[in-house]
Symmetry: C2
């Protein structure tokens, strides 16, 4: 059983989802949260607010590892720099808490929860709802994405652990 | 007299320059430094290393404000995301120390020290050397850029202060 804090980085809305589980089984949703800041606020205050909120959430939920979605430059050019700055602060939040931090591409996350790297937001939200046996989809969508990142990390971590175990058993 | 810590953000090399001065006069170089990390290191360790180094430099040099160069997406696409993440951590370092943080575009910085927003690195280094009456140009170039950002902030801050003073004297 592992507890993972997933982060979908953003300046205006940063999704955070905490999931507990083991690879290949349905997981358990512990909590989710969206850290918000206003676009007309000073960039340094927005990043400081994000840093403090993430530090609080890590301290509150005590995850064993942190998973962050990777940012690509083909995203909306007007907001991509802010998203990348937020992702730097998100990765730092995990590192400062002494936790291992892993990053995943959006298609790795989609493929992990829906089976397709090209899935849309609706599919991701539907699968997150099913995989965690929730009564209703998590809202807003930023939270569903963060939860999906945490699920992706649990499942992928399992693959890695199995491979390593296989290597230890002698398949070198 | 104001003391400014300028940051030229980067993951592999992050330039830091501390300058003391007043607008429109030659300034005084207090210190400069380049924070380095290896490209094959884990991203979370690289950002943690940068965060710690910047916190130490801020504590050591006690600047009154921090100036950071803005990152644009037209930069080298392979490294721009890392640079943007580093800039998020740089801005955060100032904010966490309770200091005002200002960002400047590369052309604002070049124009402030050379008179031209299209100046090349050599010109910037030459002018930084002259404006601070240094015996030799600061090396490496990342440090010269960070020093130029600090000079830019001192001079621009002066313009702003004069405008505000003029407004207070009744030019509304």
């Amino acid at each position: 059983m592992v507890r993972v804090l997933g982060i979908d980085p953003g300046l205006t809305r940063c999704g955070v989802g905490v999931v507990e589980g083991v690879p290949g089984r349905l997981g358990k949703l512990i909590a989710y949260h969206v850290v918000r800041s206003e676009p007309d606020e000073d960039i340094s205050q927005r990043l400081l607010n994000l840093d403090r909120s993430l530090a609080e959430l890590v301290a509150l939920h005590q995850p064993e590892s942190v998973a962050v979605e990777r940012v690509f430059s083909q995203h909306n050019a007007r907001t991509v720099m802010g998203t990348a700055q937020a992702s730097g602060v998100a990765i730092l939040a995990g590192a400062r808490a002494g936790l291992p931090v892993q990053t995943y591409t959006p298609s790795e996350v989609k493929a992990a929860v829906t089976g397709s790297g090209a899935a849309d937001k609706k599919q991701v939200t539907a699968m997150v709802t099913r995989l965690l046996r929730l009564d209703a989809p998590p809202k807003p969508a930023d939270a569903a994405d963060a939860i999906a990142i945490a699920i992706c990390h649990i499942w992928r971590g399992g693959t890695r652990a199995k491979l390593e175990a296989a290597v230890r058993r002698g398949y070198r």
